[in-house]
Each structure stands twice: as C-alpha cells, then as structure tokens.
C-alpha cells in the first residue's frame, strides 16, 4: 500500500512506537473537526478569538508595505537575530509604557506570536510533573502547551475579580505539602481569556506578594490590555516587579494575528536563555513580519487605530450582552469591560461539548468550556467571542445560540425525569 503498511496489516502510523511519551498528549477530537464548519459564511462563529482585521485601514497597511519593500527590502527578506529586530523592540517599549511598564529593549525578545513565547518559557521551566498554576478557567492555548510539556495543571479558584489570592496561597501550600514543585503561575490578568474578567490592583499586589515569597514565577499574558471599553485597566503586573514577572505581549489582537509577531519581556538571565532557545528552534523570528509591524507603527497613527478598535469592540460587546439579556435572561454571563470574550454559565447538566454539533447545525459556533481546563471542568460553560462577526451577526449568533441552549435545557428536563 505505502511505506506505513506491513503486509496487509496497517495502523497507518509506522512510527507509532517511536514517538516520545509526550506525543500522546496530542489528540484530536470531534470538536476540532466541527471548527472546520466555522469557515462557512452561513455560520456565525462566536468561537475563535479573532480580531476584526477588516477594520484595519487599507491605506495604512499599503503605506507600511510599500515603505518596507522600497526602503528596507533586503533586510526584511533576510535572516535576522534570535532576539528580534532592534527597531521593533524599541517600538514595543513604547507600547508597553502604556501599560505602566518601564522596560528595556535589551530585555525583550520577539517571538512568533506570544504563543511561541509561552512555549519557549514552558520548555525552559517545566520538567514532567512540575506544577503550573492556572486561572479557573484559563486560556486554551496555555492549557495545551503545559499539557504537552507534561506539567501537572492546577486550577486556582477564580471569581468576578479574577484569581483569588487566598485560593492561590492555599493551593501552593497544599501542593508543596505534597512534595510538588510549583514552578509557574500563568495569568491573563486583564480582560482574561476566556472569562473577560480583570484582576483589580489590590489583588495583583497580593498575588505578587504570595508568588515572591513562595518562589513562583508569574507569567503575565496581556494581549487585550489596550482594548478597554470603559475605564483604563490597572497597570500590568510586570510594572510592579521586574524579577518575578515574565511578560508576554502580542500584536495579534491590536494589529494582525496573521503576521505572527509577539514578544516576551523577561529578566536578563531568562531573556538570554529564551534567545538561545529561540535561535535553536527557529533561528530567528520572521523578519518580514516583524519589520512590517515596525513600519506600520512608524507610518500610521497606531494609537488612534487602537482607539477605533475600542469603539468597535465596545459596540459588539454591547450587542452580545443585550442579546443574552433578551434571549437568555436566565443564563449567567460575565460582563467584561474590554477584550473579546464572555464566559457563559448554563444550568448544571448541560454539556457544552455535546451541544456543539447541534449549535453548528443551527449555524452558530462557540468554544466549549472544557477546552479552558486541564481537568475536565467547564462542562456547563461556554466561551462567546464577540470580536469578529459584525454587530448584527453577533446578535443573530446569540439568538441562534439561545435556541440551542433552550432546546438542550428542554431535552435535559425530559431525560432528567427518567
């Protein structure tokens, strides 16, 4: 048949017995297959955390592209350094200052999206069995990385003000008492993915204090901090500590995820190792993408563009909440003041993963809650992302979703009686 065949017997994977143990953590599910349907125009996708790039100014993008190709083409098409383009790093310092961070371009490393930065960090710190603390729920991409690195994932209680410092202290104490190594606390403190909640300043201080005294490194992921709708959120946690916080930033939400440009701000010793790891993995982050971002920031009023995004996403958030209040008045949801997401809690017994095919057949998609946990929790939760569809489509999507949820509640009642 082919090289994977052994006579007439095949499992289609000749190398199955040769994979590293951690490869078993890479699995596929029906849910992933269902997301293929989302690309169809009939389906309102409230699933992927995609920015509305259609709102980016075409003229501004053209200007950046033309300027880069006409003036620095040879650099942009060449290999670069493992730490990333120096000019872009200077510009990133300016952006981070908006979050209260006084950083140096020297302590920055550019990565292929901040996801890549998190992967490098996990590689650097995690041995199999090490504990990583996560919010409850936490970012699906972080759960995936830490699971793949064979970390033990421990979720810490999270409420309407984000991660609870008391629960954090308790978790660390209990885990250490069991002889476990608690290495990292991964957080999205501002407009969290998936909950949308923001940790207030007093909690940030308490969390930092606990992690400092317990020797736990905080990984602060902040892709949404600039996308606030009401008041300016608290300064980044990195502004409070240079030594105990590694900061992940991204251009994916404020500019374009297609360019795959993110960054890590880390204490020098960590930064040095990350640079070496970056070079080892990819030689250098893509120069063209980095320099296009740099050029975009240079030739456009990027602060105004982010401000425009705030207005756009505010309208979409309002549409989502208005539709939930109208069509799903009994359902509990977070009411974020920025970012892309709502976290919806349905009655106990509803399985959002099992409900997804029904939703897709009703032409709406969301992300099931279990994706945001490493322990199977979140069955009766789902994440709604309101950033990508138009305002009208957000309302339509929620209306369709309401029909699906209400059907499921009815079905559950039918079989609960059993």
């Amino acid at each position: 048949m082919n090289e994977t065949n052994t006579g007439s017997i095949t499992n289609f994977d000749y190398w199955k017995s040769a994979y590293a143990g951690r490869a078993s953590n890479l699995s596929v599910s029906e849910v992933r297959a269902l997301f293929a349907v989302v690309s169809r125009p009939e389906v309102v996708s409230l699933a992927g955390g995609m920015p509305d790039v259609s709102e980016l100014p075409t003229e501004g993008l053209n200007k950046a592209f033309d300027s880069l190709v006409s003036t620095r083409r040879d650099l942009a098409l060449q290999y670069g350094g493992g730490q990333g383009d120096a000019k872009l790093r200077e510009q990133i310092v300016e952006i981070m200052a908006l979050e209260g961070i006084q950083g140096s371009a020297e302590d920055l490393i550019v990565t292929t999206g901040s996801q890549h930065g998190l992967d490098l960090l996990a590689d650097l710190f995690i041995d199999p069995g090490d504990v990583v603390l996560l919010e409850s729920p936490s970012y699906v991409g972080a759960v995936g990385i830490f699971r793949h690195k064979e970390a033990e994932i421990a979720h810490v209680h999270t409420d309407d003000e984000g991660l609870s410092p008391e629960a954090l202290q308790q978790s660390i104490t209990e885990l250490k008492a069991q002889g476990k190594k608690v290495k990292l606390l991964y957080l999205v403190p501002t407009f969290a993915n998936p909950s949308g909640v923001t940790i207030p300043t007093h909690r940030r201080e308490e969390i930092l204090k606990i992690c400092e005294s317990e020797g736990v490194l905080i990984v602060e992921d902040n892709p949404y901090g600039q996308l606030y709708f009401d008041e300016i959120p608290p300064d980044a946690m990195r502004s409070m500590s240079e030594q105990h916080v590694v900061y992940l930033g991204s251009f994916s939400k404020i500019l374009s995820p297609g360019l795959r440009v993110g960054y890590v701000l880390a204490p020098p010793a960590i930064r040095e190792k990350l640079t070496l790891a970056n070079e080892s993995a990819i030689l250098s982050p893509a120069m063209f993408g980095q320099m296009l971002v740099g050029e975009y920031l240079t030739v456009n009023d990027w602060k105004q563009q982010i401000s425009d995004y705030r207005d756009i996403y505010r309208q979409k958030r309002d549409a989502a909440i208005e539709a939930i209040d109208k069509y799903l008045p009994e359902i509990r949801t977070t009411r974020p003041k920025g970012g892309f997401f709502l976290w919806v809690t349905m009655p106990e017994g509803i399985d959002s993963k099992a409900m997804l095919p029904l939703a897709v057949s009703e032409l709406v998609a969301y992300t099931p809650g279990t994706a945001f946990f490493g322990n199977g929790m979140g069955q009766n939760n789902l994440r709604v992302c309101f950033s990508h569809p138009s305002v009208d489509r957000v309302s339509l999507g929620i209306q369709r979703l309401a029909g699906v949820i209400n059907n499921q509640i009815e079905l559950l009642k039918t079989f609960d009686a059993e």
Binding site: T10, K16, V28, A33, A354, P357, L358, F415, A417
Partner: protein, 315 residues
C-alpha cells in the same frame, strides 16, 4: 474526462469530506483525469449547469450530501454521478429505513428501535426507556439516525447510561436509533463496479486499540489496526462478502458503496449500516479495500468514474 468533486459542506463531517476530496483529486490526477473540487454553495447549480462536467463525484458527508438532496438535483441537471440515486440515497441515509429494507430482504441486522425526541416529550421518558430496556438486550448502541464518522455514537450498559446516550445522540439529530450490540469482528466491505459488474472487495477488519472504533480511532493514524483482507476463514469471509453484496444491491448503492458488518462469535454476519459516500481519506476504509484487491487508487478511481458514466444511462 472532466470530473467535479463535491466536498466540504456544513455538516459535522466537513473536515473529513474536504480531506476525502483532496485525496480523490490527487489520485484522479495520477490517472490523468482532470478534476475540480467544489463546495456546495450558492454558485454550484449555475456552475454545473454551465460547465456540464462528464461526472460529478460527491464525497459530501451528512445531510445535503448523503440524504438524496444533492443526488436529486444532479438528476434534474441530467448529470452522471457516482453512487446511489436520490431515492435510494434517502433510504440508506436513514439508518432505520436501511435496516428495515435489509430485514425485509431476510438479511440479519441487530434488533433496533428508532425514536424521535418528541416521543420522549410526549410519553414519559422513564416509561419509554423502561420498555426499550425490557425489549432490547444490553449492551445497546445509540446513534443518530443520520450521520457518520461515529459522531454521537455511544454504548450503554444500563437504563441510566441509555438516557445519557440519548442526550448525546440527539445533539446530532432529532431521531435516534438504539440497536443491540453484537460482539464480534467488525468489517467494512466496499462494493464496486469497475466495469465488470458489482463485486465485493476484500473485507477490511477493524481493530481499535481502545476497543471502540470512534471518531478519534477513525481519523488518527496509529489508533486502529486494519487488516485487509480480514482475518476470517474463507467460507466466513465469503458469507460476509455475499451479505454485503446482497445488501448493496437491495439498497441500490450504485457503482460504489460501503457496507459495515459484524461477524459474531458464531460466524453469523450482521448488517449494521451502509454508506452512500464512503470516505476516501488516507485512513478511510474503502481505499484500503481497493489496495487489497490489487488496484492502485488511481486505477480504482478511474475505473469507478468510467463505470459511473456508463451506469448513468441505466439510472
């Protein structure tokens, strides 16, 4: 020869369909046949009526692809296509209708009941499940009455588990079939007409590592071991092949179809279901059968295409 491959759609099996479509296009190209992959979208009907391809090969899965609708439209357009005609496709797509037809033909199929979710709403769910539990023997397999790739399929060992399985299956379809589980050797038999009449290809035996040939076991290389031909004695294999061929003919699957069977411990083959649009991905069952029969996939797909064009005049 110009072939239009229909793939994608909005069913839960969209991803699988797209993979099948690309594999099919690759092998047709190897055979020197020009093909184009098209999505079923608002432009499709106009496109087909304007370009009038020699053949349409649908690898669409799910409603709209396998339920006879696209087949009926192709019939209206007067185009040749691979597989069952619209009326037969509709009956095969509905697992209960297919089983009823098979049963009427005197072929063995596990005991079953099909239940619409409104039945549970109108009648007391406990009473319905109680009666089902009394009449059918556990373990039971619950599956959406329409759909494939094992999506929404689960096994229950008691009445409580059955209720849970029903909720899971109703996420895919408003009607669900509950079937007695038959323990034995799981087989997929592809029936094909490559120009010499319908014949059964060597059975592919499925042995899932987890014991359950679910979604992951179907599409992740390494999760399932396939034996082609199946490890069955000659006369048992022949009985299974005969049953598959008979089922294929009764159901009217056309020049290409796949029949799924189980051979129990007493060597009795049981019909489970049939597929109007067999998957053609790198881990799908029918491509393995072609290879086991000595065809290259390019040869097999070319022969099926030629046969489907000929068969069109008999449709």
């Amino acid at each position: 020869m110009k072939i239009v491959i229909l793939a994608g759609g909005i069913s839960p099996e969209r991803d699988i369909s797209l993979k099948s479509g690309r594999r099919l296009a690759d092998h047709l190209a190897e055979a020197g046949i020009d093909s184009e992959i098209r999505e079923p979208d608002e432009l499709l009907i106009d496109y087909l009526s304007t370009t009038k391809p020699d053949l349409v090969w649908s690898v669409l899965h799910g409603a709209g692809g396998e339920d006879g609708a696209i087949q009926r439209l192709l019939e209206m357009l007067g185009l040749a296509f691979v597989g069952a005609g619209s009326r037969d496709a509709k009956n095969i797509w509905n697992k209960a209708a297919a089983k009823a037809k098979i049963s009427e033909a005197g072929l063995a199929t596990p005991n079953w009941i099909a239940l619409h979710k409104n039945t549970f709403k109108q009648l007391n769910a406990k009473s319905v499940l109680g009666l089902v539990s009394k009449d059918l023997k556990y373990p039971l397999i619950t599956k959406p009455i329409e759909g494939g790739s094992a999506q929404g399929v689960s096994r229950s060992d008691d009445q409580k588990g059955l209720g849970k399985s029903m909720v899971e299956a109703y996420a895919y379809c408003d009607e669900v079939i509950i079937e007695e589980f038959v323990e034995g050797t799981e087989l997929a038999i592809t029936i094909v007409d490559t120009g010499e009449g319908l014949k059964a290809l060597p059975a592919v035996e499925i042995e899932a590592e987890s014991g359950n040939f679910g979604y992951q076991e179907r599409y992740i290389p390494g999760e399932t071991t396939f034996y082609a031909p199946a490890r069955l004695d000659g006369n048992i294999a022949q009985a299974a092949a005969d049953m598959a061929l008979e089922a294929h003919k009764k159901l009217g699957l056309g020049v290409l179809g796949r029949v799924d069977l189980i051979v129990d411990r007493n060597n009795q083959p049981w019909f489970l279901e049939a597929s109007v649009s067999p998957g053609l991905t790198e881990t799908s069952l029918s491509p393995q059968a072609f290879t086991a029969a000595g065809f290259t996939l390019a040869e097999a797909y070319k022969a099926i295409a030629e046969s489907a064009i000929k068969y069109q005049f008999r449709r």
